[in-house]
Structure formats: C-alpha cells, structure tokens
C-alpha cells in the first residue's frame, strides 16, 4: 500500500471561497505570547516562541488559520503503517483475532477448550503480534502525540482535538476500533477551518459515527430484513445517534426540543448505514432505501414531507447546522476551550453571530475569538486548568524534543483518565477544570513532571537552559522556559530552599544548587504549570 504525503493528506478540504483577511488584533492590550501559545497551541515551545516573536502575533495567527502542512511532522509520520489506511484496508491488514483464526481454519471455540489448539493459537499470536488490531490504536495515539507536541500547525492540532472530542467516537465500541484513524483523517481534519455543515455531514456519514452511535442499525418500524442472515439483522428504530446529534453535536440540551423530536430525527435518518465487512468496501457509506421511513416528519419546527429518501437526513443536517441554538452551543464550547470555563456572555454572543453571519465558517468563527479583547484580558490569562493532554504535551514542549513516542508517554494519559480515542461517552472529555482537579491526578502529574525533567521518559530528549552562576539565576532561566514567565517570589524561595536542603543532604553543592533538571521537575509539578 502506498503512503500518502503532503498535498494528498489535505486533498479534501473545502476552503471558503474568499481569501481570509488578516487577523485584526484589538488595540491597547498586551499581546502575551505565553498566553497565545497556551491556547492556540499546546503550550510554548522555544521554537514557537521564537517564531511568534519573529512574525508578530497577527501574522503568526494568519499563518495558523491558513491551510497548510508541516512537512517535518508528515515525514516523521510517513514511517507509520496504519495512518493512511481506509477502514476496509485496516480491517483486512489487522483483522480481529477470531476472524484470523477462521481464515486459517481454526475453530475459535476450540481455542478456549482444546489444549493443542490453545498452544497453536498462542504461537500464532506471537508470530503475528504486529498485525493485531491494537496496533491501530497504538499508532493513532503515537501520531496524535507527535502532532500535538511537534507540529508547527499547532492551531490546527488544537482544533482537530477540539472537534474530534466534540464528535467523539470511541475505539472501545465494536468495529469502531478499525475506524477512528480514518475518522480523524477523513471526517475531522479536512474541515476544522472549513464549514460546519461539511464537518457535520462528514461525521454523520462516517462509518465510525454510524457504528459508534448505532445509526447503521436503525431501520423504519415494520421493516423486515430478508435473506438467511435476517435474524441477525436489525429491525426497528435506534435513537442513539439522533439524540446525540441534537444534544451534543448541534442544538445543545437546553434548546427546547422534546423526546418526540429525537424520535422524528431518528426516523429521518433511518437507512443511513454502511457496507459490511464482507462487501469488500467495509465502512463505505450506504443508504438503504428499503430501511428508510418515507413518512412525513416534523422535527423541532422542520417539516420533512413524505416520500423522501437520503435527502430527509440531509435536510435535517441543513436545518440543525444553521440553527441559532447550534451557533450558541458551538460558540460557548469554543470560548470555553480558548478563553475560560465561564466565558463572558457578550463574547459568546459575538462568536455565535459570526458563525451565523458566515454560514458556519469555522475559520472566521475561531478568528473572532482571537480578535476579541476578552481573549487577551488579564481575567483569561492562566485562568484555565490544563487537561491531562494539555499538561503532558505542554510539559514535553517546554523541556525538550520528542524523538519517539514510546508507550510510557501514551500510558500516562490513560492513567490520568484521558486515553486517546477511547473516551467512552459521546460527550467526549471535559474542557473544564472540575473533572481534572483531584488529589490523585495531581500526584500523577507531579510524578510525571519529575520523571520527564530528569530525562526518564523514554523518547524525550531534555534540553534545558544551562546552569547559571547563582541558583536564583538558574531558577529564573528555567522558569522562563517552563512557565513562560519569571516565578513568583514565593515559588523561587521554596525552590531555592529545597535545592539548599538537597545540597546539604548530598554534600554536592556545586551541581545541586543550580541543577536545571531538578528545577524543571519542581516547576512542572507546581500549581502555576497546571494552569494555562
């Protein structure tokens, strides 16, 4: 199979027709680069700080808001085997273990009971361990960490993370495991600076979403499947996708729709399904006309006349994508991501208005946030608590270079409760502080910071400012790197005290009192670094 690089990785994006005007930043507010990189990127890295300073904030944002690729990261990821596979290719190359046994003529039931078969299966699994389905998730997680830590397309990575989470699917659900990589590549990434309606449509028709929220199985009442598999085929409506479409993806739970609207929406989407495993085109979108409910529907004010087909679902998506409740719901979530857990209502209203004015142009919508005074206000700065992903990515970006993502780096996210591509509930992970501020999480963060700075996280090369002439100078230099600012007097004092105590314990005053790695380890675990 061929690996697709550069232009073809971004072949699909529908770019809004006009060239975006340059970002107009508010006047008379301090443009804090650390704040900018904490929100529009996964934290400051020395290279990005230098780039923003060289280009200026507006030009850097223009660059980030324009389409593009980071050739270095794409080159780094070109060695990965699974990132460009279609769902069908992934399923063929990394088959479910049970199916692989059937291909080889081994009865999977015997593999549990018969000792000889058990041994045979064990040997097989060892030989073929590189084609087990878990490889797909390992590579997807590694690629994600590479991108969020190393890519120069930082804002795009923030937005891909935001919109994947908004349209969450989990690899833990059934066949979705073979689909999450393609979902991000095909349904999310091409549209994050495009139109919301296109993004919504791409997610609605993607096998990952059809599978994860069950719509592939939802058929009109009274539909009787035919053929020898008919008992295994669905018969009846499944509301799961329709409900989350309205509640999470578009209108929001407080929009005022009812259970009846959910049911009517589910009827409009009956027959939206996918090609099955044996079709040769596994995962391809398929409209099953016989399973579609052709009766009239009334959905939250939208009249869908009788006799429609796939167009019923398209009309529903058209309607909800442009609804004012959707604009407000999305604006609130974007402002919570970029500005604060409780963003100013006036800003949310302006962002929602821009969304409606531009017919859901996500580039213009996001640009409005960076052009606001609220984004640059002192209230917004350091007001948000980092999620585990933001913590881990910003820590690595602050202290060094990512050479290779090894399992410990991926696993720390899982321990912190933020396993990538495996968030079970359709809500995705919270962007707010509350779920992430706990004693257990804090202990995990402190330990990770100490290990990372000491060079004990495999795959990360630590490169910190050199030790200065006096401990205080070294603390300041390392703090500028790690926190993006000088430490508070209190923090400086506590660290100085700790270093002196350490020097007394070890009797090695020279190296300990000004050891940048020790200082960085303490700073990564400090309360200041948990904020952004």
């Amino acid at each position: 199979m061929s690996v697709c690089l550069g232009a073809c990785a971004t072949a699909a994006p529908p770019v809004p027709a006009k060239v975006a005007p340059s970002v107009r930043l508010p006047e008379g507010v301090p443009l804090d680069v650390t704040h900018l990189l904490n929100r529009a990127a996964f934290g400051p890295s020395p290279a990005d700080v230098e780039r923003v300073q060289r280009l200026g904030v507006a030009a850097w944002l223009d660059e980030q808001l324009a389409p593009g690729v980071d050739p270095k990261v794409e080159h780094r990821l070109s060695g990965f085997k699974t990132l460009q596979l279609t769902v069908a290719q992934a399923y063929e190359a990394y088959p479910p273990p049970k199916q692989r046994l059937k291909e080889l003529g081994i009865d999977p039931a015997l593999a549990k009971t018969d000792e000889a078969v058990k041994e045979q299966v064990k040997a097989l699994r060892k030989d073929e361990k590189d084609t087990l389905p878990r490889e797909l998730l390992i590579e997807a997680t590694q690629a994600k960490l590479h991108r969020v830590i190393q890519s120069q397309r930082q804002l795009e990575e923030v937005l891909v993370d935001f919109w994947f989470n908004h349209f969450n699917v989990s690899a833990e659900k059934g066949r979705t495991r073979w689909m999450v990589t393609a979902f991000e590549r095909e349904a999310i990434r091409p549209y994050v600076l495009g139109r919301f309606r296109d993004l919504l449509g791409a997610t609605a028709k993607h096998p990952a979403m059809l599978m994860y929220l069950d719509n592939w199985q939802s058929v009109r009442d009274g539909f009787e499947p035919k053929g020898k598999q008919k008992d295994k085929l669905p018969h009846g409506l499944n509301e799961n996708y329709a409900r989350e479409l309205l509640e999470l993806h578009t209108l929001g739970v407080d929009a005022g729709y009812t259970q009846l609207d959910v049911r009517e929406a589910a009827r409009a989407l009956t027959g939206w399904s996918l090609e099955r495993e044996k079709s040769g085109e596994f995962g391809k979108f398929l409209f099953r006309a016989q399973a579609h409910d052709t009766g009239p529907k009334r959905i939250f004010g939208l009249e869908v006349p009788a006799g429609g087909g796939q167009s019923d679902g398209e009309a529903l998506l058209d309607f909800v994508a442009r609804h004012p409740a959707t604009a407000h719901h999305l604006a609130l979530q974007l402002c919570q991501r970029f500005v604060g857990d409780e963003p100013p209502a006036a800003l949310v209203d302006r962002v929602a208005a821009e969304f409606l004015r531009t017919d859901g142009d996500l580039r213009a919508t996001v640009r409005t946030i960076f052009e606001s005074r609220e984004f640059w206000s002192p209230e917004a700065m350091a007001s948000k608590t980092k999620t585990p992903l933001e913590f881990v990515a910003s820590a690595v970006r602050a202290v060094g270079q990512l050479d290779e993502v090894q399992q410990p780096l991926a696993q720390v996210l899982e321990r912190m409760g933020m396993a990538q591509y495996r968030c079970g509930p359709p809500t995705g992970y919270s962007d707010l502080a509350r779920p992430w501020v706990s004693a257990g999480a804090l202990v995990t963060r402190i330990n990770f910071g100490l290990q990372l700075a000491a060079g004990r996280v495999r795959g990360v090369d630590v490169a910190l400012p050199p030790a200065g002439s006096a401990p205080a100078a070294t603390i300041d230099a390392v703090s500028l790197r790690v926190l993006g600012r000088l430490p508070s007097a209190q923090t400086r004092g506590v660290i100085e005290h700790a270093l002196r105590a350490r020097a007394e314990e070890t009797g090695d005053e020279q190296t300990t009192t000004a050891n940048p790695q020790l200082i960085a380890g303490l700073l990564l675990g400090s309360p200041e670094f948990q904020k952004q």
């Binding site: 669905p234 018969h235 509301e239 409900r243 004693a439 202990v443 314990e505 303490l522 309360p527």
Partner: protein, 389 residues
C-alpha cells in the same frame, strides 16, 4: 501550626518503625463509625434484566430474547443468572433489592440523567452534588484526608462542591518521592497556589500520601478473591481503607458498560458479562470485610433503566425506572422492596418504560441518615419512609 510539624512528627514515628495502627492512633482518635459506599453503574442498567419480574405476565411478550432466569428472590422476582454470587448474601439477609426505582423528573439523556441524579435536584443541575452536601454537614475533615474518597479517575459530580473530596485511581499510584525535592517542597508550593481549587487539592494530596503507603499492599482477608476488573481493583482498595481505619465515611466509585443498545444478550452476552463482574466484585468485597461489613453500606445507582421492550437491535434503549442493590451495614435484607407498577401498556411510563414508583432520593436519604446521620441534602423533597435499615 503548619502541616510540616505534624508531618515531621509522623516521619519521625515512621523512622522508629512505628506501625500503621499506632500511626493511626497518633493521627486522630477516629471513632468507629459507619461508611457509605456508592457504586454508580454508568450507562443505564437494564433493571428488568438485573432483577427480573418473572411473575409479571407481560414480561415474556415484551422481551422474549432477554429473559434468563437465575436464583429466585421470592415468588415474583429472580436475579439474573450472572449475579448468582449475590444469592448467598440475599439469603443471609445482608442484601436488599429496590425495584421500579428512579428519578422524579426523568431524562433519557445519559448526561442529563447522571447530572440530575448526582445533583439530587430532580430534573436540574446544581452547583454541587448531593454527597458533597452531606459532607458539608459532617463539618471540617482536618487530619482525615480519607474521610471521603472517590476511587476513580476524577471526582464525580455527586462529590463536587464546597467540601473537599479526594479522587484517586488507585492506592498504589498514590505516592510522591520523599526527601527535600519531593513531597515537602510540593506541599509548600501548593500552600501558596493562587488557584483555590489547586491549593485545597494539593493539601489533600499530600496529607493522603502520608497515609496510603502501607495500606496499598494489604492482602484481601477471609480468602476473598476479587475479579481482576477495574471495579474489582477499586473495591479492593476501598476494603483496604476500611481495614486501615483511616476514618473513611463516604466512598464513591463507578463501573461502566451498561448502555446495552445492541446485542444485550440473556444468559450470556454483553450485559451478562457486566453483571457477572458486578456480582463477583460485591461478593468479594463483602467477604473481604467480614464482620466489618456491618459498618459499611453499599448502594448501586444508575441514571435510568431501559425500555421494557427489546429494540430492533436485540438490545434496549434508554428508559426510566431501574433496580438498585443495598448491601451490608444494618440493611433489612433478603427482600425486594418494590411497589410494582406492572408492565402492561396502561402502566408503562409513556407506554415504553418501567414506571418509577420509588424516588431514588428516598433510598439515598435513608442510607445517608443511617450511615452518616445526615438529613436534608435533597431540598424541597420529603422522602417516603422505606424502612431499609
């Protein structure tokens, strides 16, 4: 007096090889009191499968493909066969079932229903959770960082609010290097944190680290054997905290995977696997605690039940009433507490779900009063007397 002096005192005791129980007595005079454990079964448990009303004449017609008879509880109800580990506890009257229990203003959205239940406000989200309001009544927890624990990755909404509460994934993970570059320095850094939430979380974290070291390795007692599942590990850690006498009053944990839209199964299948884990975990926890089970009350909760009818994909969709288990501490067990509404169309809620005849807050109110002597955490609600304890 700062934290340091107390901690230094503990360190010096540890240096002289003073054992955990002695440390405990040095810490605080913790009176022997009851503990309440809530287990949130997320996803919406199909109560009609968990505890099956086989005496209801309508059951078979509604869900022929989902029925699997297990140990009988009385002439009307039986357990799911995957829950047979619970039958001995029921026979010993240490386990009660509450059926047709749910929320007064139900929602079929997972997120609404979970938040409403955890807020305890019937159809509304509040600024704090009902368990946190209970904690607020208990007063300050100084010196007892393990008075309340959420044994999961993050604090659930039920425990969030003004009263500080501790969330941790497991006891074994709960340590920070010692020495001058370790816990003492971080303690000082967090004492001065600008962010109030981080400051109090840091305080709890460093207090807790002091206490967990020895407990994390404690083996199960009485030959108890836990399933190697997330819930098994969490309940084992909770038992360790109970055995360790660290003053645990309130604990919350959760299990997931009950959202069985698809291929739910009967004797075997998705739901059977989840229930088997739940039953074996609860049985192991009860065995591990032994006589101390009298001091501990365990409740299972879920956001809603599921449709009475099997859906088109051999599963069930989001519904309304479900069932709960109450285990241990003084419960009048060996019975199913239920004002059974019936499964005929006239009595199904919106002609599709088991109707609610017991408000879940009534169960929670009795458990909170029994375990913590706390009343009135559910505003504008007068609980019906169920007589569970």
């Amino acid at each position: 007096m700062s934290l340091f002096s107390r901690r230094d005192f503990l360190h010096s005791l540890a240096l002289f090889g003073v054992s955990a129980p002695l440390l405990r007595r040095a810490l605080a005079q913790v009176p022997p009191t009851r503990t309440l454990v809530t287990i949130f079964l997320r996803g919406g448990v199909d109560g009609l499968s968990m505890v099956q009303p086989i005496g209801d004449p309508k059951l078979a017609a509604l869900r022929a493909g989902l029925i699997a008879k297990g140990p009988a509880l009385d002439s009307f109800f039986c357990l799911h066969p995957a829950l047979s580990a619970l039958a001995p506890l029921y026979q010993r009257q240490q386990l009660a079932v509450i059926h047709a229990v749910g929320q007064a203003r139900p929602s079929r959205s997972h997120f609404d229903a979970q938040d409403f239940l955890e807020s305890g406000l019937a159809g509304q989200r509040g600024h704090d959770g009902y368990l946190n309001r209970a904690l607020q009544q208990l007063g300050p927890a100084e010196g007892q960082p393990f008075r309340v624990v959420a044994l999961q990755n993050s604090l659930p909404m039920s425990l969030s609010g003004e009263a500080p509460a501790l969330a941790l994934p497991s006891l074994a993970d709960f340590k920070v290097p010692g020495g001058s570059l370790g816990v003492a320095t971080f303690d000082s850094l967090y004492e001065e944190a600008v962010d109030q939430a981080l400051r109090s979380t840091g305080h709890d974290a460093f207090e807790g680290v002091e206490q967990t070291g020895a407990l994390a390795a404690l083996a199960p007692k009485n030959g108890a054997s836990y399933p190697k599942s997330p819930l098994g590990k969490r309940l084992q850690d909770l038992a360790r905290l109970v055995h360790g006498g660290v003053g645990l009053r309130l604990a919350a944990t959760e299990a997931t995977g009950f959202d069985t839209h698809l291929a739910q199964g009967a004797e075997s299948g998705t739901l059977a696997n989840r229930l088997k884990d739940l039953g074996e975990c609860l049985a192991a926890f009860a065995a591990d605690l032994g006589p101390r089970l009298d001091e501990v009350t365990v409740l299972t909760l879920t956001e809603f039940g599921r449709t009475a009818r099997e859906n088109g994909t051999r599963g069930t969709d989001h519904g309304t009433a479900s069932a709960m288990f109450v285990l241990g501490g003084g419960v009048r067990g060996g019975r199913v507490v239920s004002d059974w509404p019936g499964l005929d169309d006239a009595h199904l809620f919106e002609k599709r779900d088991l109707a609610v005849t017991t408000d879940v807050r009534a169960v929670l109110a009795e458990a909170l009063e029994h375990s913590l002597q706390v009343r009135g955490v559910f505003p504008d609600f007068t609980p019906a007397k169920l007589g569970l304890f």
